[in-house]
Protein backbone atom coordinates (compact mmCIF):
# COMPACT_ATOMS: atom_id res chain seq x y z
CA UNK A 1 0.00 0.00 0.00
CA UNK A 2 1.25 3.47 -0.83
CA UNK A 3 1.81 5.87 2.10
CA UNK A 4 -0.85 8.34 1.15
CA UNK A 5 -3.45 5.60 1.08
CA UNK A 6 -2.61 4.69 4.66
CA UNK A 7 -3.14 8.26 5.77
CA UNK A 8 -6.53 8.33 4.13
CA UNK A 9 -7.54 5.06 5.68
CA UNK A 10 -10.15 6.49 8.00
CA UNK A 11 -12.29 7.98 5.28
CA UNK A 12 -11.56 5.11 2.89
CA UNK A 13 -14.10 2.29 3.10
CA UNK A 14 -15.16 -0.62 0.90
CA UNK A 15 -17.90 0.27 -1.56
CA UNK A 16 -20.03 -2.31 0.23
CA UNK A 17 -20.03 -0.09 3.32
CA UNK A 18 -21.61 2.91 1.61
CA UNK A 19 -25.31 3.57 2.10
CA UNK A 20 -27.59 4.16 -0.90
CA UNK A 21 -26.96 7.71 -2.09
CA UNK A 22 -23.46 7.65 -0.62
CA UNK A 23 -20.69 9.10 -2.80
CA UNK A 24 -17.05 8.35 -3.07
CA UNK A 25 -13.93 8.47 -5.17
CA UNK A 26 -12.31 5.14 -5.89
CA UNK A 27 -9.05 4.97 -3.92
CA UNK A 28 -7.74 1.53 -4.70
CA UNK A 29 -8.78 -2.04 -5.47
CA UNK A 30 -8.04 -4.97 -3.27
CA UNK A 31 -9.39 -7.90 -5.26
CA UNK A 32 -8.88 -11.51 -4.24
CA UNK A 33 -7.37 -12.65 -7.50
CA UNK A 34 -6.12 -11.33 -10.76
CA UNK A 35 -9.35 -12.20 -12.55
CA UNK A 36 -11.48 -10.32 -9.98
CA UNK A 37 -9.29 -7.28 -10.50
CA UNK A 38 -9.54 -7.69 -14.26
CA UNK A 39 -13.34 -7.76 -14.09
CA UNK A 40 -13.49 -4.54 -12.12
CA UNK A 41 -10.99 -2.81 -14.40
CA UNK A 42 -12.90 -3.97 -17.46
CA UNK A 43 -16.06 -2.14 -16.39
CA UNK A 44 -14.05 0.97 -15.61
CA UNK A 45 -13.72 0.68 -11.84
CA UNK A 46 -10.40 2.51 -11.69
CA UNK A 47 -8.82 4.67 -8.97
CA UNK A 48 -9.78 8.30 -9.29
CA UNK A 49 -13.27 7.65 -10.68
CA UNK A 50 -16.28 8.97 -8.78
CA UNK A 51 -19.07 6.61 -7.79
CA UNK A 52 -22.53 6.95 -6.26
CA UNK A 53 -24.06 3.90 -4.63
CA UNK A 54 -27.65 3.45 -5.77
CA UNK A 55 -28.73 0.22 -4.16
CA UNK A 56 -27.32 -2.46 -1.85
CA UNK A 57 -29.75 -5.36 -2.13
CA UNK A 58 -30.08 -7.86 -3.78
CA UNK A 59 -26.96 -6.66 -5.63
CA UNK A 60 -24.83 -3.55 -5.36
CA UNK A 61 -25.75 -0.97 -7.98
CA UNK A 62 -23.65 2.12 -8.46
CA UNK A 63 -23.31 5.00 -10.87
CA UNK A 64 -19.93 5.38 -12.52
CA UNK A 65 -19.40 8.12 -15.07
CA UNK A 66 -22.49 8.14 -17.24
CA UNK A 67 -23.48 4.52 -16.65
CA UNK A 68 -24.72 2.21 -13.94
CA UNK A 69 -23.26 -1.12 -12.94
CA UNK A 70 -24.42 -3.99 -10.79
CA UNK A 71 -21.86 -6.11 -8.93
CA UNK A 72 -22.08 -8.76 -6.24
CA UNK A 73 -21.02 -8.32 -2.63
CA UNK A 74 -17.69 -10.04 -3.15
CA UNK A 75 -16.65 -7.48 -5.78
CA UNK A 76 -18.19 -4.55 -3.89
CA UNK A 77 -15.99 -5.45 -0.90
CA UNK A 78 -12.84 -5.18 -2.95
CA UNK A 79 -13.41 -1.62 -4.19
CA UNK A 80 -12.16 0.94 -1.67
CA UNK A 81 -13.58 4.43 -1.94
CA UNK A 82 -12.73 7.72 -0.28
CA UNK A 83 -16.02 9.10 0.97
CA UNK A 84 -16.94 12.43 -0.59
CA UNK A 85 -19.88 14.68 0.13
Amino acid sequence: MVKQEKEDKKSVVPLSDLQPGGKGQIAYLQAKGKSQMQKLLSIGVIPGMHVVLVQRFPSYVFKLGHTQFAIDKELARSVYVKITK
Binding site: M1, V2, Y28, L29, K34, S35, Q36, M37, Q38, K39, L40, L41, I43, G44, I46, P47, G48, M49, V54, Q55, F57, P58, S59, V61, T67, Q68, F69, A70, I71, D72, E74, L75
Partner: protein, 486 residues
Protein backbone atom coordinates in the same frame (compact mmCIF):
# COMPACT_ATOMS: atom_id res chain seq x y z
CA UNK B 1 21.45 -3.64 -15.60
CA UNK B 2 18.07 -3.08 -17.14
CA UNK B 3 17.44 -0.32 -14.71
CA UNK B 4 20.59 1.35 -16.01
CA UNK B 5 19.33 1.04 -19.52
CA UNK B 6 16.06 2.72 -18.59
CA UNK B 7 18.01 5.61 -17.15
CA UNK B 8 20.26 5.77 -20.18
CA UNK B 9 17.33 6.32 -22.47
CA UNK B 10 16.37 9.32 -20.46
CA UNK B 11 12.72 8.43 -19.88
CA UNK B 12 11.49 9.11 -16.42
CA UNK B 13 8.72 6.60 -17.11
CA UNK B 14 9.84 2.97 -16.78
CA UNK B 15 6.62 1.74 -18.42
CA UNK B 16 7.22 3.72 -21.59
CA UNK B 17 10.83 2.62 -21.68
CA UNK B 18 10.00 -1.06 -21.32
CA UNK B 19 7.41 -0.73 -24.04
CA UNK B 20 9.82 0.62 -26.60
CA UNK B 21 12.46 -1.93 -25.59
CA UNK B 22 9.98 -4.77 -26.14
CA UNK B 23 8.75 -3.26 -29.39
CA UNK B 24 12.32 -3.28 -30.64
CA UNK B 25 12.68 -6.96 -29.84
CA UNK B 26 9.51 -8.06 -31.64
CA UNK B 27 10.36 -9.23 -35.14
CA UNK B 28 7.30 -11.28 -36.22
CA UNK B 29 4.07 -9.87 -37.58
CA UNK B 30 1.14 -10.22 -35.19
CA UNK B 31 -1.41 -8.36 -37.31
CA UNK B 32 -1.69 -5.73 -34.61
CA UNK B 33 0.76 -2.95 -33.89
CA UNK B 34 3.93 -3.84 -32.00
CA UNK B 35 2.96 -1.41 -29.31
CA UNK B 36 -0.32 -3.31 -28.77
CA UNK B 37 1.57 -6.60 -28.61
CA UNK B 38 4.00 -5.12 -26.10
CA UNK B 39 1.14 -3.78 -23.99
CA UNK B 40 -0.56 -7.18 -24.01
CA UNK B 41 2.69 -8.88 -22.96
CA UNK B 42 3.00 -6.50 -20.02
CA UNK B 43 -0.60 -7.31 -19.08
CA UNK B 44 0.28 -11.02 -19.15
CA UNK B 45 -2.23 -11.89 -21.85
CA UNK B 46 -1.91 -15.69 -22.15
CA UNK B 47 -2.58 -15.91 -25.93
CA UNK B 48 -0.13 -13.23 -26.92
CA UNK B 49 2.52 -14.50 -24.53
CA UNK B 50 2.17 -17.94 -26.09
CA UNK B 51 2.43 -16.48 -29.61
CA UNK B 52 5.54 -14.51 -28.69
CA UNK B 53 7.18 -17.61 -27.22
CA UNK B 54 6.45 -19.50 -30.44
CA UNK B 55 7.36 -16.88 -32.99
CA UNK B 56 10.34 -15.00 -31.58
CA UNK B 57 13.75 -16.52 -31.12
CA UNK B 58 14.24 -18.15 -27.73
CA UNK B 59 16.75 -15.47 -26.86
CA UNK B 60 14.53 -12.47 -27.55
CA UNK B 61 11.52 -14.14 -25.95
CA UNK B 62 13.59 -14.63 -22.82
CA UNK B 63 14.69 -11.01 -22.86
CA UNK B 64 11.17 -9.74 -23.49
CA UNK B 65 9.75 -11.56 -20.49
CA UNK B 66 12.71 -10.48 -18.40
CA UNK B 67 11.90 -6.85 -19.21
CA UNK B 68 8.26 -7.42 -18.30
CA UNK B 69 9.26 -9.15 -15.07
CA UNK B 70 11.64 -6.40 -14.12
CA UNK B 71 9.09 -3.69 -14.86
CA UNK B 72 6.65 -5.28 -12.42
CA UNK B 73 9.02 -4.60 -9.55
CA UNK B 74 8.56 -0.84 -10.11
CA UNK B 75 4.91 -0.94 -9.17
CA UNK B 76 2.99 -2.15 -6.18
CA UNK B 77 0.00 -3.02 -8.39
CA UNK B 78 -0.31 -5.39 -11.36
CA UNK B 79 0.62 -3.77 -14.66
CA UNK B 80 -2.92 -4.24 -15.98
CA UNK B 81 -4.07 -1.92 -13.25
CA UNK B 82 -1.46 0.69 -14.06
CA UNK B 83 -2.10 0.54 -17.80
CA UNK B 84 -5.89 0.69 -17.45
CA UNK B 85 -5.59 3.62 -15.07
CA UNK B 86 -3.47 5.58 -17.52
CA UNK B 87 -5.81 4.86 -20.37
CA UNK B 88 -8.75 5.96 -18.27
CA UNK B 89 -6.97 9.17 -17.34
CA UNK B 90 -6.32 9.94 -20.99
CA UNK B 91 -9.87 9.02 -22.00
CA UNK B 92 -11.29 11.25 -19.28
CA UNK B 93 -9.04 14.09 -20.39
CA UNK B 94 -10.21 13.78 -24.00
CA UNK B 95 -13.85 13.36 -23.13
CA UNK B 96 -13.91 16.30 -20.71
CA UNK B 97 -12.23 18.50 -23.30
CA UNK B 98 -14.66 17.45 -26.02
CA UNK B 99 -17.99 17.22 -24.23
CA UNK B 100 -20.16 19.43 -22.10
CA UNK B 101 -22.61 17.96 -19.66
CA UNK B 102 -26.00 19.62 -19.53
CA UNK B 103 -28.62 19.07 -16.89
CA UNK B 104 -30.56 16.03 -17.92
CA UNK B 105 -34.19 16.32 -18.88
CA UNK B 106 -37.14 14.52 -17.37
CA UNK B 107 -35.90 11.04 -16.62
CA UNK B 108 -38.28 10.80 -13.68
CA UNK B 109 -40.62 8.09 -14.90
CA UNK B 110 -37.85 6.05 -16.43
CA UNK B 111 -35.82 6.09 -13.23
CA UNK B 112 -38.88 5.15 -11.21
CA UNK B 113 -39.62 2.17 -13.47
CA UNK B 114 -35.96 1.21 -13.42
CA UNK B 115 -35.70 1.20 -9.66
CA UNK B 116 -39.01 -0.68 -9.38
CA UNK B 117 -37.57 -3.39 -11.63
CA UNK B 118 -34.50 -3.62 -9.40
CA UNK B 119 -36.50 -3.62 -6.18
CA UNK B 120 -36.51 -7.11 -4.65
CA UNK B 121 -40.18 -6.82 -3.66
CA UNK B 122 -41.70 -5.08 -6.67
CA UNK B 123 -39.32 -6.82 -9.09
CA UNK B 124 -40.92 -10.23 -8.49
CA UNK B 125 -44.44 -9.21 -9.51
CA UNK B 126 -42.98 -7.35 -12.51
CA UNK B 127 -41.22 -10.57 -13.57
CA UNK B 128 -44.49 -12.48 -13.23
CA UNK B 129 -46.28 -9.86 -15.32
CA UNK B 130 -43.60 -10.02 -18.02
CA UNK B 131 -43.84 -13.82 -18.04
CA UNK B 132 -47.62 -13.79 -18.11
CA UNK B 133 -48.09 -11.26 -20.90
CA UNK B 134 -44.92 -11.94 -22.86
CA UNK B 135 -44.79 -15.72 -22.57
CA UNK B 136 -48.22 -17.03 -21.69
CA UNK B 137 -50.43 -14.56 -23.50
CA UNK B 138 -48.35 -13.63 -26.52
CA UNK B 139 -46.34 -16.80 -27.16
CA UNK B 140 -48.75 -19.30 -25.61
CA UNK B 141 -52.16 -18.00 -26.61
CA UNK B 142 -51.33 -16.07 -29.74
CA UNK B 143 -48.32 -17.95 -31.15
CA UNK B 144 -49.04 -21.51 -30.03
CA UNK B 145 -52.80 -21.01 -30.27
CA UNK B 146 -54.07 -18.67 -32.95
CA UNK B 147 -51.11 -18.86 -35.35
CA UNK B 148 -50.54 -22.61 -35.02
CA UNK B 149 -54.24 -23.35 -35.53
CA UNK B 150 -54.29 -21.27 -38.64
CA UNK B 151 -51.14 -22.75 -40.17
CA UNK B 152 -51.92 -26.33 -39.20
CA UNK B 153 -55.61 -26.52 -39.96
CA UNK B 154 -55.91 -24.13 -42.83
CA UNK B 155 -52.59 -24.19 -44.58
CA UNK B 156 -51.29 -27.71 -44.01
CA UNK B 157 -54.30 -29.95 -43.34
CA UNK B 158 -56.58 -28.36 -45.91
CA UNK B 159 -54.16 -27.38 -48.55
CA UNK B 160 -50.54 -28.54 -48.46
CA UNK B 161 -50.81 -32.09 -47.12
CA UNK B 162 -53.57 -33.23 -49.51
CA UNK B 163 -51.73 -31.56 -52.36
CA UNK B 164 -48.44 -33.31 -51.56
CA UNK B 165 -50.21 -36.63 -50.91
CA UNK B 166 -51.98 -36.33 -54.28
CA UNK B 167 -48.74 -35.54 -56.11
CA UNK B 168 -46.92 -38.40 -54.41
CA UNK B 169 -49.74 -40.83 -55.23
CA UNK B 170 -49.55 -39.81 -58.82
CA UNK B 171 -45.83 -39.58 -59.46
CA UNK B 172 -44.01 -41.68 -56.84
CA UNK B 173 -44.44 -45.34 -57.72
CA UNK B 174 -42.48 -46.77 -54.81
CA UNK B 175 -44.67 -46.81 -51.68
CA UNK B 176 -41.77 -46.62 -49.25
CA UNK B 177 -40.37 -43.50 -50.89
CA UNK B 178 -43.88 -42.05 -50.95
CA UNK B 179 -43.98 -42.71 -47.22
CA UNK B 180 -40.75 -40.81 -46.74
CA UNK B 181 -42.30 -37.76 -48.36
CA UNK B 182 -45.93 -37.82 -47.38
CA UNK B 183 -46.48 -40.71 -44.95
CA UNK B 184 -47.52 -40.32 -41.32
CA UNK B 185 -43.99 -39.33 -40.38
CA UNK B 186 -42.93 -38.06 -43.80
CA UNK B 187 -40.52 -35.23 -44.47
CA UNK B 188 -43.31 -32.97 -45.73
CA UNK B 189 -46.23 -34.17 -43.65
CA UNK B 190 -44.30 -34.36 -40.41
CA UNK B 191 -40.95 -32.60 -40.79
CA UNK B 192 -42.09 -29.53 -42.69
CA UNK B 193 -45.42 -29.41 -40.99
CA UNK B 194 -43.96 -29.40 -37.49
CA UNK B 195 -41.20 -27.02 -38.43
CA UNK B 196 -43.37 -24.48 -40.22
CA UNK B 197 -46.82 -24.87 -38.71
CA UNK B 198 -46.01 -25.58 -35.07
CA UNK B 199 -42.47 -24.61 -34.19
CA UNK B 200 -42.07 -21.56 -36.41
CA UNK B 201 -45.01 -19.53 -35.06
CA UNK B 202 -44.08 -20.39 -31.47
CA UNK B 203 -40.39 -19.68 -31.89
CA UNK B 204 -41.07 -16.54 -33.92
CA UNK B 205 -43.43 -15.06 -31.34
CA UNK B 206 -40.98 -16.00 -28.59
CA UNK B 207 -38.04 -14.39 -30.35
CA UNK B 208 -40.13 -11.29 -30.95
CA UNK B 209 -41.15 -11.06 -27.29
CA UNK B 210 -37.56 -11.75 -26.21
CA UNK B 211 -36.19 -9.05 -28.52
CA UNK B 212 -38.64 -6.50 -27.07
CA UNK B 213 -37.61 -7.42 -23.53
CA UNK B 214 -33.93 -7.45 -24.48
CA UNK B 215 -34.03 -4.09 -26.22
CA UNK B 216 -35.81 -2.39 -23.32
CA UNK B 217 -32.89 -3.07 -20.97
CA UNK B 218 -34.92 -5.27 -18.65
CA UNK B 219 -32.63 -8.32 -18.69
CA UNK B 220 -29.65 -6.82 -16.81
CA UNK B 221 -32.09 -5.64 -14.13
CA UNK B 222 -33.51 -9.13 -13.87
CA UNK B 223 -29.96 -10.48 -13.70
CA UNK B 224 -29.05 -8.28 -10.72
CA UNK B 225 -32.30 -9.31 -9.04
CA UNK B 226 -31.70 -13.05 -9.25
CA UNK B 227 -27.92 -13.05 -8.78
CA UNK B 228 -27.98 -14.14 -5.13
CA UNK B 229 -30.35 -17.03 -5.88
CA UNK B 230 -28.36 -18.05 -8.93
CA UNK B 231 -25.14 -18.11 -6.86
CA UNK B 232 -26.70 -20.99 -4.90
CA UNK B 233 -26.91 -23.04 -8.08
CA UNK B 234 -23.38 -22.21 -9.17
CA UNK B 235 -24.32 -19.50 -11.64
CA UNK B 236 -24.21 -15.73 -11.64
CA UNK B 237 -27.11 -13.45 -12.49
CA UNK B 238 -25.71 -13.13 -15.99
CA UNK B 239 -26.87 -16.72 -16.69
CA UNK B 240 -30.49 -15.59 -16.54
CA UNK B 241 -30.18 -14.49 -20.17
CA UNK B 242 -29.44 -17.91 -21.74
CA UNK B 243 -31.88 -19.56 -19.35
CA UNK B 244 -34.75 -17.26 -20.32
CA UNK B 245 -33.81 -17.70 -23.97
CA UNK B 246 -34.02 -21.45 -23.32
CA UNK B 247 -37.72 -21.07 -22.68
CA UNK B 248 -37.87 -20.25 -26.39
CA UNK B 249 -35.31 -22.60 -27.91
CA UNK B 250 -32.98 -24.49 -25.58
CA UNK B 251 -30.73 -25.42 -28.47
CA UNK B 252 -30.01 -21.78 -29.28
CA UNK B 253 -29.69 -21.03 -25.57
CA UNK B 254 -27.03 -23.74 -25.23
CA UNK B 255 -25.03 -21.92 -27.86
CA UNK B 256 -25.54 -18.63 -26.02
CA UNK B 257 -24.00 -20.12 -22.84
CA UNK B 258 -20.74 -19.13 -24.53
CA UNK B 259 -21.31 -15.68 -23.06
CA UNK B 260 -20.82 -17.09 -19.55
CA UNK B 261 -17.33 -16.36 -18.25
CA UNK B 262 -16.24 -19.71 -16.75
CA UNK B 263 -16.35 -23.31 -17.95
CA UNK B 264 -18.05 -24.32 -14.71
CA UNK B 265 -20.94 -21.91 -15.33
CA UNK B 266 -21.25 -23.05 -18.93
CA UNK B 267 -21.52 -26.71 -17.92
CA UNK B 268 -24.09 -26.07 -15.19
CA UNK B 269 -26.17 -23.86 -17.49
CA UNK B 270 -26.03 -26.46 -20.28
CA UNK B 271 -27.17 -29.20 -17.90
CA UNK B 272 -30.05 -27.12 -16.56
CA UNK B 273 -31.12 -26.16 -20.08
CA UNK B 274 -31.11 -29.80 -21.15
CA UNK B 275 -32.88 -31.03 -18.05
CA UNK B 276 -35.21 -28.54 -16.50
CA UNK B 277 -35.90 -25.74 -18.98
CA UNK B 278 -38.78 -26.66 -21.28
CA UNK B 279 -38.57 -24.97 -24.67
CA UNK B 280 -41.49 -23.01 -26.08
CA UNK B 281 -42.64 -25.81 -28.39
CA UNK B 282 -42.72 -28.23 -25.51
CA UNK B 283 -44.41 -25.81 -23.19
CA UNK B 284 -47.12 -25.17 -25.74
CA UNK B 285 -48.05 -28.86 -25.80
CA UNK B 286 -47.72 -29.28 -22.03
CA UNK B 287 -50.07 -26.37 -21.46
CA UNK B 288 -52.49 -28.05 -23.86
CA UNK B 289 -52.16 -31.41 -22.07
CA UNK B 290 -52.82 -29.93 -18.64
CA UNK B 291 -55.33 -27.43 -19.98
CA UNK B 292 -58.27 -28.08 -17.67
CA UNK B 293 -56.15 -29.24 -14.74
CA UNK B 294 -54.79 -26.20 -12.89
CA UNK B 295 -53.71 -28.39 -9.96
CA UNK B 296 -51.80 -30.64 -12.34
CA UNK B 297 -50.10 -27.61 -13.84
CA UNK B 298 -49.05 -26.45 -10.38
CA UNK B 299 -47.63 -29.89 -9.52
CA UNK B 300 -45.76 -30.00 -12.85
CA UNK B 301 -44.35 -26.50 -12.34
CA UNK B 302 -43.29 -27.19 -8.73
CA UNK B 303 -41.55 -30.45 -9.64
CA UNK B 304 -39.68 -28.84 -12.54
CA UNK B 305 -38.65 -25.84 -10.46
CA UNK B 306 -37.62 -28.12 -7.61
CA UNK B 307 -35.48 -30.18 -9.96
CA UNK B 308 -33.97 -26.99 -11.41
CA UNK B 309 -32.92 -25.73 -7.97
CA UNK B 310 -31.83 -29.06 -6.45
CA UNK B 311 -29.86 -30.25 -9.47
CA UNK B 312 -28.29 -26.80 -9.84
CA UNK B 313 -27.37 -26.77 -6.14
CA UNK B 314 -25.85 -30.26 -6.27
CA UNK B 315 -24.01 -29.49 -9.52
CA UNK B 316 -22.50 -26.38 -7.93
CA UNK B 317 -21.34 -28.46 -4.93
CA UNK B 318 -19.84 -31.20 -7.08
CA UNK B 319 -18.28 -29.17 -9.89
CA UNK B 320 -14.79 -27.88 -9.20
CA UNK B 321 -13.66 -24.50 -10.43
CA UNK B 322 -13.75 -20.81 -9.79
CA UNK B 323 -16.86 -19.45 -8.07
CA UNK B 324 -18.86 -17.13 -10.28
CA UNK B 325 -18.77 -13.41 -9.76
CA UNK B 326 -21.35 -10.99 -11.02
CA UNK B 327 -20.69 -7.70 -12.73
CA UNK B 328 -22.88 -6.20 -15.37
CA UNK B 329 -23.68 -2.87 -16.89
CA UNK B 330 -27.22 -1.66 -16.27
CA UNK B 331 -28.02 0.38 -19.37
CA UNK B 332 -30.73 3.04 -19.20
CA UNK B 333 -34.26 1.74 -19.73
CA UNK B 334 -35.72 2.71 -23.03
CA UNK B 335 -38.69 2.10 -25.19
CA UNK B 336 -37.78 -0.81 -27.51
CA UNK B 337 -36.85 0.38 -30.98
CA UNK B 338 -38.81 -1.28 -33.75
CA UNK B 339 -35.81 -1.58 -36.07
CA UNK B 340 -33.67 -3.24 -33.37
CA UNK B 341 -36.42 -5.64 -32.40
CA UNK B 342 -37.06 -6.66 -35.98
CA UNK B 343 -33.38 -7.07 -36.74
CA UNK B 344 -32.75 -9.26 -33.69
CA UNK B 345 -35.83 -11.37 -34.34
CA UNK B 346 -34.91 -11.79 -38.00
CA UNK B 347 -31.35 -12.85 -37.25
CA UNK B 348 -32.51 -15.44 -34.70
CA UNK B 349 -35.13 -16.76 -37.11
CA UNK B 350 -32.48 -17.04 -39.76
CA UNK B 351 -30.25 -18.97 -37.39
CA UNK B 352 -33.18 -21.20 -36.50
CA UNK B 353 -33.95 -22.06 -40.10
CA UNK B 354 -30.34 -22.63 -41.09
CA UNK B 355 -29.21 -24.59 -38.05
CA UNK B 356 -32.24 -26.32 -36.61
CA UNK B 357 -34.55 -26.94 -39.53
CA UNK B 358 -32.13 -29.28 -41.34
CA UNK B 359 -31.92 -31.31 -38.13
CA UNK B 360 -35.70 -31.64 -38.07
CA UNK B 361 -35.69 -32.90 -41.65
CA UNK B 362 -32.89 -35.27 -40.71
CA UNK B 363 -34.98 -36.50 -37.76
CA UNK B 364 -37.87 -37.30 -40.13
CA UNK B 365 -35.52 -39.36 -42.27
CA UNK B 366 -34.18 -41.15 -39.19
CA UNK B 367 -37.70 -42.00 -38.07
CA UNK B 368 -38.46 -43.31 -41.56
CA UNK B 369 -35.33 -45.47 -41.63
CA UNK B 370 -36.00 -46.62 -38.09
CA UNK B 371 -39.49 -47.67 -39.07
CA UNK B 372 -38.65 -49.64 -42.20
CA UNK B 373 -35.69 -51.40 -40.60
CA UNK B 374 -37.56 -52.21 -37.42
CA UNK B 375 -34.92 -50.55 -35.20
CA UNK B 376 -37.58 -48.18 -34.07
CA UNK B 377 -39.88 -50.97 -32.90
CA UNK B 378 -36.95 -52.43 -30.96
CA UNK B 379 -36.27 -49.17 -29.10
CA UNK B 380 -39.96 -48.61 -28.49
CA UNK B 381 -40.15 -52.04 -26.82
CA UNK B 382 -37.10 -51.28 -24.65
CA UNK B 383 -38.59 -47.96 -23.59
CA UNK B 384 -41.88 -49.62 -22.70
CA UNK B 385 -40.27 -50.90 -19.49
CA UNK B 386 -39.36 -47.58 -17.86
CA UNK B 387 -42.61 -46.15 -19.23
CA UNK B 388 -44.57 -48.82 -17.37
CA UNK B 389 -42.49 -48.29 -14.21
CA UNK B 390 -43.70 -44.72 -14.03
CA UNK B 391 -47.26 -45.96 -14.38
CA UNK B 392 -48.00 -45.03 -17.98
CA UNK B 393 -49.55 -47.21 -20.68
CA UNK B 394 -46.97 -48.82 -22.99
CA UNK B 395 -48.35 -46.78 -25.91
CA UNK B 396 -46.67 -43.75 -24.35
CA UNK B 397 -43.26 -45.21 -25.14
CA UNK B 398 -43.62 -44.16 -28.79
CA UNK B 399 -44.11 -40.61 -27.59
CA UNK B 400 -40.94 -40.81 -25.50
CA UNK B 401 -38.83 -42.13 -28.34
CA UNK B 402 -40.11 -39.38 -30.60
CA UNK B 403 -39.37 -37.01 -27.78
CA UNK B 404 -35.70 -37.69 -28.34
CA UNK B 405 -35.86 -36.73 -31.98
CA UNK B 406 -37.88 -33.68 -31.19
CA UNK B 407 -39.14 -32.92 -27.72
CA UNK B 408 -42.40 -31.54 -29.02
CA UNK B 409 -43.13 -34.67 -31.13
CA UNK B 410 -43.10 -36.56 -27.88
CA UNK B 411 -45.44 -34.12 -26.22
CA UNK B 412 -47.70 -34.13 -29.27
CA UNK B 413 -47.76 -37.95 -29.16
CA UNK B 414 -49.01 -37.75 -25.61
CA UNK B 415 -51.66 -35.29 -26.71
CA UNK B 416 -53.06 -37.97 -29.01
CA UNK B 417 -53.17 -40.40 -26.08
CA UNK B 418 -54.97 -37.79 -24.03
CA UNK B 419 -57.64 -37.15 -26.64
CA UNK B 420 -58.18 -40.89 -26.91
CA UNK B 421 -58.83 -40.85 -23.17
CA UNK B 422 -56.02 -43.26 -22.37
CA UNK B 423 -54.48 -41.16 -19.61
CA UNK B 424 -55.76 -40.09 -16.19
CA UNK B 425 -54.91 -36.71 -14.70
CA UNK B 426 -52.16 -38.18 -12.54
CA UNK B 427 -50.66 -40.02 -15.47
CA UNK B 428 -50.71 -36.83 -17.53
CA UNK B 429 -48.77 -34.96 -14.86
CA UNK B 430 -46.22 -37.80 -14.53
CA UNK B 431 -45.88 -37.94 -18.30
CA UNK B 432 -45.40 -34.15 -18.58
CA UNK B 433 -42.79 -34.12 -15.80
CA UNK B 434 -40.83 -37.01 -17.30
CA UNK B 435 -41.02 -35.64 -20.80
CA UNK B 436 -39.88 -32.17 -19.75
CA UNK B 437 -36.86 -33.65 -17.99
CA UNK B 438 -36.22 -36.36 -20.60
CA UNK B 439 -33.38 -36.20 -23.13
CA UNK B 440 -33.20 -32.99 -25.08
CA UNK B 441 -34.25 -33.05 -28.70
CA UNK B 442 -31.64 -34.36 -31.12
CA UNK B 443 -30.71 -30.82 -32.13
CA UNK B 444 -29.93 -29.94 -28.54
CA UNK B 445 -28.01 -33.15 -27.96
CA UNK B 446 -25.80 -32.35 -30.94
CA UNK B 447 -25.36 -28.79 -29.68
CA UNK B 448 -24.41 -30.07 -26.22
CA UNK B 449 -21.74 -32.26 -27.75
CA UNK B 450 -20.54 -29.47 -30.01
CA UNK B 451 -20.30 -26.91 -27.22
CA UNK B 452 -19.25 -29.07 -24.27
CA UNK B 453 -17.38 -31.89 -26.00
CA UNK B 454 -18.20 -35.55 -26.54
CA UNK B 455 -17.47 -36.75 -23.02
CA UNK B 456 -19.56 -34.21 -21.13
CA UNK B 457 -22.33 -34.23 -23.74
CA UNK B 458 -22.79 -38.00 -23.54
CA UNK B 459 -22.40 -38.17 -19.76
CA UNK B 460 -25.03 -35.46 -19.36
CA UNK B 461 -27.48 -37.30 -21.62
CA UNK B 462 -27.01 -40.59 -19.76
CA UNK B 463 -27.63 -38.83 -16.48
CA UNK B 464 -30.76 -37.13 -17.84
CA UNK B 465 -32.15 -40.39 -19.24
CA UNK B 466 -31.83 -42.07 -15.87
CA UNK B 467 -32.84 -39.06 -13.82
CA UNK B 468 -36.00 -38.15 -15.76
CA UNK B 469 -37.54 -41.58 -15.27
CA UNK B 470 -36.48 -41.67 -11.61
CA UNK B 471 -38.27 -38.39 -10.98
CA UNK B 472 -41.29 -39.57 -13.00
CA UNK B 473 -41.38 -42.72 -10.89
CA UNK B 474 -41.08 -40.74 -7.63
CA UNK B 475 -43.87 -38.37 -8.62
CA UNK B 476 -46.13 -41.24 -9.61
CA UNK B 477 -45.51 -43.05 -6.30
CA UNK B 478 -46.03 -39.87 -4.28
CA UNK B 479 -49.25 -39.10 -6.10
CA UNK B 480 -50.67 -42.56 -5.49
CA UNK B 481 -49.62 -42.53 -1.80
CA UNK B 482 -51.16 -39.13 -1.25
CA UNK B 483 -54.37 -40.29 -2.90
CA UNK B 484 -54.49 -37.07 -4.89
CA UNK B 485 -56.33 -37.15 -8.16
CA UNK B 486 -55.23 -34.32 -10.40
Amino acid sequence: MLRDFVKNIGYDDPLEASLSKIEGLLLSDYRISKRSVALLILQEDPDISEAVRNRESAESAKEIFAIAGELKTHYSYPLTYIITERRQREASRISSAATTVTKKGSLGIREAVSSAMMNPFIGGPILLAVMYYGLYKFVGNFGAGVLVDFLEDKVFDHYLNPLVAGLVDKYVPWAMLGDLIAGDYGVVTLGFRYAFAIIMPIVATFFLAFAVIEDSGYLPRLAMLVDQIFKKIGLSGRAVIPLVLGLGCSTMATMVTRTLPTKRERIIATLLLALAIPCSAQMGVILALLESRPLGLIVWLSVIMGVFLVVGYLASKIMPGELPSFYMEIPPLRFPQVSNVLRKTASRMKWYFLEVLPLFMFASVLIWIGKITGIFGFFVRILEHPVRWIGLPSEASVAFLFGFFRRDYGAAGLYDLKTEGLLTGNQLVVACVTLTLFLPCIAQLLMNIKERGMKIGIAMSAFILFFSFSIGWTVSILLSISGLSL
